[in-house]
């Protein structure tokens, strides 16, 4: 127990913690992020309405403006959409989907990227050449384009009955596959340095297997930059998901993410009902902005070139 306290104290006194305490925007972004993630995670507990329970929906309440505009109702703080669903509640639920897809997609591309990077860096030779060349080829295309194509083709190829329920996984796959290269590059470079060090030689003499050396010895020493990349990648993944959903290729209306909500509201923009699309949009920007600020800060703090 006292060891844990000491450990926490050490973290509290570290340079990282000091730099965190002295940068107000980052503290603010972190607070915003925590609040948003909490709202998303606890959506079914704290959302004022359940937007996916048709029994509670009243079509007479459709397209109500936010409470501070004439005609708004205090039951629906941010107004309602075309089906009479409470915008605030759909945002909470939508944010949950967006964050889940984002995290899963980053975890997916991180796993592929780290695995391939470790293998390429450790083995070298033709394995390395094939993996990295593949990465080069993929990098000559923007990630959004790759995700767009994987998603578009998957949407058509899948049997119609499965399309809706599988979308969640298809979107994760599409975004995840599109983004593995940067992880692989970073890990490969770090592995190539690490594998020449004495501790790896020592492990090898002690007859530790290659697989174990990679996972238990080299991986922990390459993971720092990977986590920074993952934070920055999370913002991109959430945005990519929103774009795919906005184009009608991402999450279906039955399981809406923020992007899906914005798409649904887009048609009503020209008739002046801006709250249906812009409030989910604001939530999206806030979320991505907070993630990006924290990610940027982490990168700057951990980048020795900028010290």
């Amino acid at each position: 127990m006292s060891q844990l306290v000491l450990r926490l104290k050490a973290i509290g006194n570290s340079e990282l913690a000091w730099r965190f305490r002295t940068s107000p925007p980052v503290i603010f972004a972190t607070v915003v992020l925590v609040v948003l993630v909490f709202c998303a995670a606890a959506a079914n507990l704290i959302a004022p309405h359940n937007p996916f329970d048709p029994a509670t929906l009243n079509i007479m309440d459709a397209r109500l403006p936010p409470v501070w505009i004439d005609g708004g109702s205090s039951t629906y703080l941010l107004g309602t959409d075309e089906q009479g669903r409470d915008i605030l509640s759909t945002i909470f639920y939508g944010m949950r989907v967006s964050i889940l897809v984002g995290i899963a997609a980053v975890a997916f591309s991180m796993t592929i990227g780290v695995a391939l990077g470790l293998i390429a860096g450790y083995l070298g030779g033709w394995v390395d050449a094939v993996i990295m060349r593949l990465g080069d080829i993929q990098l000559s295309f923007p990630t959004i384009m790759i995700a767009f194509f994987i998603d578009g083709v998957a949407k058509i190829v899948m049997p119609i009955g499965m399309r809706e329920e599988m979308r969640f996984y298809v979107v994760i796959l599409a975004i995840g596959v599109a983004d593995w290269v940067q992880f692989a590059r970073t890990v490969r470079a770090a592995t190539m340095i690490e594998r020449r060090k004495d501790y790896v030689a020592a492990a090898r003499i002690s007859e530790v297997g290659g697989f174990r050396i990679l996972l238990a010895h080299i991986l922990p020493n390459t993971i720092g930059p990977v986590l920074v990349l993952a934070t920055l990648g999370l913002g991109v993944a959430i945005l990519t998901e929103a774009i795919l959903s906005f184009l009608g290729l991402g999450m279906p209306p039955s399981q809406p993410s923020l992007g899906t909500l914005i798409r649904a509201g887009n048609d009503l923009l020209l008739s002046g009902e801006w709250w249906i699309s812009l409030f989910p949009g604001a939530a999206l920007v806030l979320l991505v902005l907070a993630v990006n600020i924290v990610g940027d800060w982490l990168r700057d703090v951990l980048n020795p070139r900028l010290r």
């Binding site: 923007p142 578009g152 774009i243 020209l270 002046g272």
Partner: protein, 321 residues
Amino acid sequence: MISLLATRLTSVILVMLVVSALSFSIFNFLGDPVNNILGVNATLAQREELRVALGLDQSTFVQFWRFVERAVVGDFGVSYRNRQPVVDLILARLPATLELVLCATVIALAAGIPMGVYTALKPRGLLSRTLQFGSLLGISMPQFLIGMLLILVFSVELRWLSAFGRGDVVTLGWWSTGLLTTSGVKALIMPTITLAVFQVSMIMRLVRGEMLEVVRTDFVKFARARGLSDRAVYLTHALRNSLLPVITITGLQIGSLIAFAIVVEAVFQWPGMGMLILQAIEFADFPVMAAYLAFVGFSFVTINLIVDLIYLAVDPRLRAK
């Protein structure tokens, strides 16, 4: 330098092979060319005859080779949806997208570089901080949201600009341009800004980052020690050396602009290639998807190659090797 060019060319060929293999798979395995040409009511004998005539009885490799041969001369077959040659459809939509992308690139460079230099030289100023935050907002905001805000302000509230379409276009040969008519230029304003915001932010942040690093190097200190004016030190020595990565990123960004143009075109109902591919996916129009993939792949590869050549021309260290 020749070996560098050789490696680049091999990688170009490699990429194009992979792209055409993917494009061929979409065209061949997902679509059914026989149904496409004869319709669903043809007899079995007619189908078999056409299969032989099209070479679909041959091995996959032979078929792939034929696909590549025809693709090289621009023959991607006929669209399932509107029965026109795919290449005609793409050529008709190409000018709209290219004008959008080029205008956005010009804006991005013209605004992004000065903003990056300014924020690097005066990092503590109020304007710099505002720009810094704005650029963070710019890379955190999806294009469709920027477009929707613009539509809300300038089309719904102020009624200054039309929310969709290209306006009037003038046809020069096969190229249709919106740059020569007032309504065409007006229609271009909102989509271009929407597309450019991300690139402006990106280039600004890049230039700023590079400047901050270059300003610390010895040759800049030396230039200052020689008594050169601030202007000469920063604009001639520092900026020139910070621009190298900007060339690469701008090149790559033109590629992603083509991708993001899909989003912007969807928001503004812009009749470009993005709308074409979105409709193609919606209607499972495989020949169009295959052709779009091949076309986009080819453009990206060409852009990357041009970027490398410019790099070679600009950076004397590469030429010496």
